[in-house]
Structure formats: structure tokens, C-alpha cells
Amino acid sequence: MISVDTVESIVEEARTLVEDPSYPAARRWLEDHPEGKVLGHFQVYFPEELAHAAGMLPLKIAGFDTTLQIRKADAHLAAFVCSIARSALELVMSGTLDILDMFVFPPICDVARHSCAVWARNFEDIDSQILYLPHNAASPAAVPYLTGEYRRILREIEEVASTRVTDGALRASIELFNENRRLIRELYRIKRETPWLLSAVEAYLLTRAAGAMPREEHNLLLQRALAALETRDGKPQDKIRVVFSGGFCEQPPLDLISVIQDACYIVDDDFMVGLRWIVSDVTADGTDPIEALADAYLNRSDYSPVQHDPRKPKEEMLLRKVREAGAEAVIIAAAKMCEPGLEEQVGYGQALYEAGIPHLVMEFEEKTTTFEQTRMEVETFAESLLFEFA
């Protein structure tokens, strides 16, 4: 008998991958590729095409919730550091994630840059690198610089993978990841336009699984999910439509997303922003594929608190996101101890206030376990909007 895919069953597949800190899909890939190498990276942005073209498996390490006890990492980091830096370090120190050959940090914050040195001191078998993405994003010199920096990291990758990467292999990888981005955009379109057909938690799990499995398999997973969604029934509920802002690096616990979706439709967000950083296809035909990736990072990309780009003022970008999603309110969240996220909250709040858009400010930590206070805040917020004129 042929089993019929349902959205629920596919989401459960994704959940088993996302909630297991040992990265089971990566282990299966290693069984099939005994000589294969694994490149981990923080999820904010890394051009995974470079690793994929070298035959490596890129994995997004986005920290972990309470299923991972922090036993060793705390002794290596200062007290006032975000949770994701601790849990990523613990994953490796505890031996839970013992399959990494290389790890790439973005220069998005000082914790990330320091973490690279901490990893390099402690894990001599892991090539720990900082990919220096440009902070002067609007400079005409940024694309040539980033092209050179991508070439440098590619040389590191080639050394770890003991291979040479051709332009042809890069173009094929770009096409695979273009397909992945298209599928995720489609998933987000459904969530935005018909949030009663796809909940925020479901969309989140389906998206986040990309970082925990080979991308070819994730494309198939999303194709199945999108097909199953075509036949899914659902009725709109009387919920307010919100944009969630603040999940660009450390991820909120699933239960937090669940608490919010009980009272609101999350019609857009910045969860796992690295998967959607590039907002349209990268066109590498007839051009240098590395330069095409560099150009896409800078010129066809989303925004976040960890990139200053005068062409993309963050408040304006958020207001645009709200408009395009048809949202009526915003949840401005930030991970605890996340300096860039916390600093952004004030600017976002002022812009939303001036635009007359209601917003709720909150903090989260991936290891939060009790949500009663948050539930009360979100429900009160939602009800204050639903019954504004009552």
C-alpha cells in the first residue's frame, strides 16, 4: 500500500531532524559517504554552495534548547554571553556533534568572533574560520572584496575536502540552492496568504530542517509538503496578523512560537534568516559563480540587525515587511544577551510607534522552559487589538 503524505507527517519528519542534537540525517549522509566531510556554520549567513560544490555537507548550527544540558561550555565563556554561543560549543565539547571537520563563523557580533578563537583553541581537528562578510555593504569595493574572501574560504574548504572545485560544480550547487530558496519562498507565501493552512510552527520546522539534512533531500521534503498543502483544508480564524522580528540568529524555542501562534497568525518573520537571506535566484550562467554569490549577498538580500547597509534602513525594511505581509502588529523580540538584537528593539519600536503599528517587545532564550508569562502577554496584546472597538 502506498502511504499518502500529509502535512502533519512531513512536519513530524522535519521535527525529528530538528529536535535531535546529534544531527541524524548528517550521520546517515556520512554512512553513505564514508569519506565525506562536514562543514558547520552559524545560520545567519554562509554561502553553503561553496561547501556543497566541494562535496561537503553544510550544516546550520543554531544552538539547542533544553534537550542539551550545558555542562562544559560555561567554563569557557564569559557570563554575559548569549545562549547560542554556549549551546553550539557544548554540542561539540559534549561529543554530541562529533562529525564536524570545519566550522565557519560570521563576523556578525563580537561573541561570534571570539567563539572562533575558542573553538580553534579547543578543537584542533576542526578548521575554525571567520568568513569576513563586509560591514561596509554599500561600498563599491565590497563585491570585489567579498569575491576574494569567498575564494579564500573556498581554498580552506578545498583543503579540508581534499578536492578542487570547478565553476561547473559551483553552478550546479547554486542551482540546487536556488531551488531550495524558491521552495522556501513558496512555503512563506502560503503562510503569509493563508496562515490557517500552514501554522508558524509547521513552517518553521519545515524550513529549519534545511540546515540539518542534505539540501537535495530537503528540496524533496518541501516539494512533498507543498503538494500536501494543496489538498489541505482549513478555515480562517479571528486572529491578529503579526510579523515576528528578532529570530535572525539564536532561535526562539518552539514552544514560544507555539504560544504566539495560539493567539496570532505569524505571517512573516526572520527565523533562520540565512536560508532566505538571498531573496531571488543567483544567476551564475556566463558569469563567475563566486562573484555572482558575492553580488547576491550584497545586492539581492534581506536585512538584519547585524548588517549596516544605508540602502536598507532597518526600520523601513521592517515597515515594508509589515505592509507586504498584510500584518497589523509586530512582535519585536530579541535573544537574551544579544547586543545587536536588543539595541535594535528601540529603533524598531520608535518607527512602529510613529507609523501607528501596535507592537509587543519581548526577550527570549533558546533554553526558556516556562511560557505562562509570555502567553499572558501575547494574549493580552492580541485581545487588545481584537477588541479595540468593543
Binding site: F80, A120, S128, N136, P144, G148, R151, V346
Partner: protein
């Protein structure tokens, strides 16, 4: 404990030092002048640049006679004067989190209160230059951008890249980095021309570069004087005065003259065997920053044990890499500035993240007994990896270290008893170590 307390130490009567106090007097004069210039610029509506100590680009801005405000310094001053908390809470009342940089909040609090600072009036910036050397610089700059609608130039200097990275002059990565930085030097010059309405004068620029070459040479000589035992100055306390001037007057003959005065005074102390801390017993290296809201108490916790800090990594990273040796080639000023920026930044910032080799070198050359790692909540740039670095140096190089935590400017994070317990225990362990060494 056999160590004499500060009340029990022997009193040695020496002939007075002829240069005693000259550095402090000059420092006070120059800081007042610096504030007076900011006040005057604010009153007259002349353009002022807000910059940061790591990568101030003073060499360029001074060419345009632009007064330069350093918010890290002005925030520090609010703390040393015991006023930081009122500004921090003003910023928190406006929505800034208790968990972000206290320097940012102290500064924003001053701006929210109309700019009135305990030492003068903070003018509105006409231009902000923020390097990536501390990521919070960029977020801080964005706050002013929102407040004053002023241009923000993020000057990006690619840094240390990870496992096995070395800055190699001839490498492709070095060339790529320099090309990127050189383009930004030119972009910043063009932007400053626009903001000030003045044309760039390359000869003035050369003069500024020449002053920085001299400043760097003198700065290294001053630091080397502290290899003397006893150390003639305390990098923890008097070091702050040095850092203030070398930043505020980088590229100016006044900065160079100041270091000549400091060098003469410290050399006299060294020649006469006068240490910064009476009867010096322990030589320490500070990694991180001091706690400025409780500055005297912080220093006292070490001085009570006759501990002196002959060096600190603060003297390195907060000095715009002057200690690394800046050598601008005046025949090709713009290109050379870009090269030196890349070289010195990668060395100084690499030293902050991947600090074990530089710290080992300082321990050896400045005869250090132990390292004090002071993590501060306000500054993840300097603090994040300190416990790991401490553990690595102890395990791999047998260099003892102490890790303590408080803050730069937020007195709410000062815990006197806890700090004292840990610091006392560290000194006791250094004493035991010394005794064990003597027995061997």
C-alpha cells in the same frame, strides 16, 4: 598572610623627583582643551565627528580640522566622576536593555538629557565613523543616525580569520583586504569633504601620518620603560591618562609632545627606582578593561597586595594599535594608510581574540607573575573568550590567571566582597607558587 598591609609598609624618604606630576598636569590641560574645542564647535555649529578608539581615522579627520568626539572616553568620564548610573538609567527608561553595553547607555543617556556631560557639552555629530573592530560601534552609530540624521560611515577592516591565519604581506588575502580598505579611505575622504565643505589637503594628511609614526614610536618606548622593575607607571591607572591623550590627539603634535613628557617622567622614576606601586611585589597583566565606576576600589584591590600592572591588552587594542608599531610611508600616504590599517588591526584584534601568543610574549618581556582577566558585562568584544584563554594559558603555558567579572561603567554590577575574595585568593596562590619555586 605575611604580606605587610599598606599601613605597615616601610616609609622610604627619597629626594623629590624633578618631573613628578608633569604627565598628570599635561593630561589635565589637554583634556580640558579637548572639551573646550568640542564645546566651541557645538556652540558655533561647526561639524564634529563621533569616532571610536579602535580605528578613529583621526589621520583623515584632522586633515579637515574636524573636532573629534570619542564617546567611549566621555562615557568613561561619567563613570570616573561617579555619574554614569544616572545616564544609564535614563537610557534604560527610554527602552535600552539592561543587557547591552553600558558605554552606549551612558552616552545615550547624556544625549537624551540634552548633551550636558559632567565635563562639558556633547555636540551633535555631523559625521560618524564606526569601524567593525567592535560590532557595538556600528549599533551605537545607528542610534546617533536615528537621533540626528547624520551620515554613518562604517569603516570595515577585515580581521583575524581563524585557525592558522597569519597576515602575510604578499598574500592574495592581504592584497584583497588592502584594496578594500584603500577604497574606503578614499570614500571617507570624499564624504568628509562633503560634510565639511573643505578640500582634502594631502600635505596636511602627510603631516598627520608623520605625527602618528612618531606617536607610535614614543608609545612603544613608554611601554618598554615598564619592563623596568619596579614598573614606573601603572598601566591600570596612569595608563588611562595615556590612552585618553593618544586617542584624542592622535596625529597632532600635542599628542606627540605629551608622550615625550610622559616618557621623561617615567624614565626619571625608573632611573631612581621609584615604582608606581610602593614596594612592588607582584607584576600583573590586565586583560580586558578596568571597572571605571569603581575605579579607585578596583585598583586598590591589587595595590593592597603591592601588585602593579606594567602592561595591559587595553594599552594595545584601545590605542589604535600604536603599540604594534605604525610606520606610514609618507611617499604613498593613502596606500600606506590602508596597508598599516590592515597590518596593525589584524595584529591587535587578532591579539584580542587569539591572544595567547601575544600574552605569553608580554608575560616574558614584562616579567609578569600572573594575568588578571576582567570580563565586563558591557563589552563582549573584550570579554567573551577570556575564561577559555585563561584556562588555555594555565594548562599549556603554566601561566597563572584570575578571571573576575564586573562592568566598565555600571556600578550595579560591582560586587566588592566577591571580587576581593577572588583577588585575595589569587595573590595567595601566587605567593604559594613563588614559595614553591624558591624551594625548587
Amino acid at each position: 598572610m605575611t604580606t605587610p598591609t599598606k599601613h605597615e609598609r616601610r616609609i622610604v624618604i627619597r629626594p623629590p623627583l624633578s618631573l613628578a606630576g608633569t604627565t598628570r598636569d599635561e593630561n589635565r590641560k589637554l583634556i580640558r582643551e579637548w572639551w573646550a574645542e568640542l564645546d566651541a564647535a557645538g556652540e558655533e555649529g561647526r561639524p564634529v565627528a563621533n569616532v571610536f578608539v579602535m580605528g578613529s581615522m583621526a589621520e583623515i579627520l584632522r586633515t579637515f580640522d574636524m573636532p573629534i568626539a570619542f564617546p567611549e572616553m566621555t562615557s568613561l568620564q561619567t563613570a570616573v566622576r561617579g555619574r554614569s548610573l544616572e545616564f544609564i538609567t535614563t537610557a534604560e527608561d527610554a527602552g535600552y536593555s539592561p543587557d547591552i553595553c553600558g558605554y552606549v547607555k551612558a552616552d545615550i543617556g547624556v544625549h537624551l538629557q540634552g548633551g550636558d556631560h559632567p565635563m562639558g557639552h556633547l555636540p551633535e555629530p555631523s559625521l560618524v565613523v564606526a569601524t567593525n573592530l567592535c560590532n557595538t560601534y556600528i549599533k551605537w552609530a545607528e542610534i546617533w543616525e536615528r537621533m540626528y540624521d547624520c551620515p554613518v560611515f562604517v569603516f570595515d577592516i577585515p580581521g583575524w580569520r581563524g585557525s592558522g591565519f597569519e597576515t602575510k604581506r604578499g598574500s592574495g588575502t592581504f592584497r584583497d583586504d588592502v584594496r578594500y580598505v584603500e577604497a574606503q579611505v578614499r570614500e571617507l575622504i570624499a564624504l568628509t569633504e562633503e560634510v565639511t565643505g573643505k578640500k582634502f589637503d594631502i600635505d596636511r594628511f602627510r603631516e598627520n601620518l608623520a605625527q602618528v609614526n612618531e606617536l607610535s614610536r614614543l608609545f612603544r618606548e613608554v611601554l618598554e620603560l615598564n619592563q623596568h622593575r619596579p614598573a614606573p607607571f601603572n598601566a591600570l591607572t596612569e595608563g588611562i591618562n595615556l590612552m585618553g591623550i593618544v586617542n584624542a590627539y592622535r596625529g597632532s603634535p600635542k599628542g606627540t609632545r605629551f608622550l615625550e613628557i610622559a616618557k621623561a617622567e617615567f624614565a626619571e622614576r625608573a632611573a631612581r627606582g621609584v615604582g608606581a606601586v610602593p614596594d612592588e611585589r607582584f607584576r600583573l597583566l590586565l586583560v580586558g578593561t578596568a571597572c571605571y565606576s569603581n575605579f579607585r576600589d578596583f585598583a586598590g584591590l591589587f595595590e593592597d597586595w603591592q601588585g602593579v600592572f606594567p602592561h595591559s591588552d587595553y594599552m594595545s587594542f584601545a590605542g589604535g594599535a600604536l603599540d604594534r608599531g605604525v610606520h606610514y610611508d609618507l611617499d604613498r600616504p593613502i596606500e600606506s594608510m590602508a596597508e598599516q590599517m590592515v597590518l596593525t588591526t589584524q595584529e591587535a584584534m587578532g591579539g584580542m581574540f587569539w591572544g595567547q601568543d601575544w600574552l605569553t610574549e608580554v608575560v616574558r618581556e614584562w616579567s609578569i607573575d600572573g594575568i588578571v582577566f576582567h570580563g565586563v558585562k558591557s563589552c563582549r568584544t573584550v570579554s567573551t573568550g577570556l575564561p577559555d584563554e585563561r584556562e588555555w594559558l594555565l594548562r599549556r603555558r603554566d601561566i597563572p590567571g584570575l578571571f573576575i567579572q564586573s562592568d566598565l561603567v555600571d556600578p550595579r554590577l560591582w560586587s566588592a566582597a566577591q571580587l576581593k575574595n577572588r583577588i585575595d585568593a589569587f595573590f595567595e596562590s601566587l605567593e604559594s607558587r613563588r614559595a614553591a619555586g624558591a624551594r625548587r
